[in-house]
Symmetry: C2
Subunit: 330 residues, 2 copies
């Protein structure tokens, strides 16, 4: 993909825990600060169109947070979420940002967009801070249960993502409850075996660091952490919760100047742990840039998700990812 | 169980990542500091007997960390782990402490000891700090995959544990990736439904707080967090890893007096997050006090596990637990 003269990012303002008005206001405020080549397209209920000067795509239906994903995408074809993904497929958009129902977003993206070569299921990827360089964690919530084959594809796509970020031969680890090869479920043991084999093939584009425990992830010795969506989500939210607990302890027990600085430092760390909210998780595996912001995104977090979508579209991220995946064998 | 005139605690010195010599030294050093009514019984290879004055039970075999649990407990009946659990069954011991192979310990405990009323599978329970009172998390690693029925039993045993600690009508939460009743796997949805029902029965001994995300656990609004052993282990180790990351950041960026105090404070928090190591996780569900220390336990952590075993034996913990479970219906 060449650098496009115009970048069109679709903004789903409906169906999140934040009000559509709030998300639309965030987009309204952000738009004038972006380069003139970037066009934000708000997608939402017709009644909201008069409150914005942004290009607007009406969508008469809304998928709610507590809708069952599969029945929602069948019944609500004219929802903002479905309309936006179809516009992405038809190249009317270069990227799409939503803070709506995760299950519906994942399922309809899989159904409406093509998949990247060799990838069967989309996964949500979040980039998290460690003691060294950031680690790409996937899946953080798209697939509750995964077979070995899915985990192996997540490893490949996570490695391609880190390659695209400029990391040479990214190292991949499997989130597990011990480091020994026999630890964990049969799916994890199968993935361990196959990733060992793949990483030793000639021309392999990633190395395999074996099983990684939750406590070691933050040491920063792997570039990609592979996990099923349930454990990945527990991992992400536990880290966030603990950062919160520690901030709370500091607030309660310390009040001097150093504590103030430290608080700032930890709040920054915490914000990076909120990656799923800030700038959002990348739905990867599909041919299209889809950013999933958290359901209760603040206007800042939502804006940050939009900026991340602009950045990825601008660098032609999907094409890069696709090239890495196609070239993965010599 | 009346307070016993003598409390005998079996100490498995073999099969951990720490050397048997180190663990035996820890027990040697601890013994003289305990009340005279407490007798520590070291269980290990005959060659080590000359290095201790503690009562000693020889066990000719050792289950190693990387042994397959089920074949190990079949083949190595004279291992310290199996010998100790049989002594507990025969009431030659009042409690047993091991830092050995978790899978072998769980499987042989289930096989050799009776189960508490209504409980089918043992679970590892760790007590973790929150913003308010400590939360009992189970399972943190005994059962990788769980059916709804197992999760419900973990809820009951966790609630009985907290009742025994003096908490009236403990509140129980399910670790999940969202708060809505429909979130998560079918096992979690089944457990959600049944726990809702049980908690509304007349005479229910716990309340049900629904699904809890990893980020909310540390707010301290539930007394018991129920999870399968894989997710529970990820939860525990992620919390530990993040505390580590934050300590590291503080060490790197701050050096004043306040940072020093804060470091002390956080190290203390971190030590409590190491509950699985310090004082160890309680293997609950079986009729017998079994403490599982972490495989790479320091002498201090191992000693702390022994002290916890003494405390539980002294208060007649199993009898209390059993009474709560039997009386759970009116």
């Amino acid at each position: 993909m060449q650098r496009r003269p115009e970048i069109r990012v679709g903004i789903d303002i409906m169906g999140s825990d934040s009000s559509p008005e709030l998300l639309l206001q965030a987009a309204n405020a952000l738009a004038p600060t972006l380069p003139s080549s970037v066009k934000l397209v708000a997608i939402g209920h017709p009644r909201l169109q008069p409150t914005t000067r942004l290009p607007y795509q009406s969508a008469s239906e809304t998928i709610e947070m507590d809708d069952s994903p599969l029945s929602a995408i069948r019944r609500k074809k004219d929802s903002s979420l479905c309309v936006g993904l179809r516009m992405l497929r038809e190249k009317e958009l270069d990227a799409f940002v939503s803070a709506g129902n995760t299950g519906a977003l994942v399922s309809y993206a899989k159904m409406s967009l093509s998949m990247l070569p060799g990838i069967m299921r989309p996964a949500l990827l979040a980039l998290l801070p460690t003691k060294k360089k950031p680690v790409a964690v996937l899946d953080v919530g798209a697939n509750l249960q995964c077979k070995s084959g899915h985990l192996i594809q997540f490893a490949q796509i996570g490695a391609a993502y880190q390659l695209a970020r400029g990391i040479k031969t990214p190292s991949v680890g499997l989130l597990n409850i011990g480091s020994e090869a026999l630890k964990g479920t049969s799916e994890l043991r199968g993935a361990y075996h196959e990733l060992s084999r793949l990483s030793q093939e000639r021309g392999a584009f990633f190395s395999f660091a074996g099983n990684i425990e939750g406590k070691s992830v933050f040491d920063g010795n792997v570039d990609v952490l592979v996990t099923d969506g349930f454990s990945g989500n527990v991992f992400l939210k536990t880290a966030e919760g603990l950062a919160n607990l520690i901030l709370d302890r500091i607030n309660e027990n310390f009040s001097g100047e150093e504590a103030l600085h430290m608080r700032g430092h930890l709040q920054d760390l915490q914000r990076h742990l909120h990656y799923a909210e800030y700038p959002g998780a990348l739905l990867c595996g599909v041919k299209g840039i889809v950013i999933k912001c958290h359901g209760y995104s603040s206007p800042e977090a939502f804006s940050s998700g939009i900026c991340e979508a602009v950045r990825l579209a601008d660098e032609g991220f999907i094409q890069i990812l696709q090239d890495k995946l196609v070239k993965k064998k010599p």
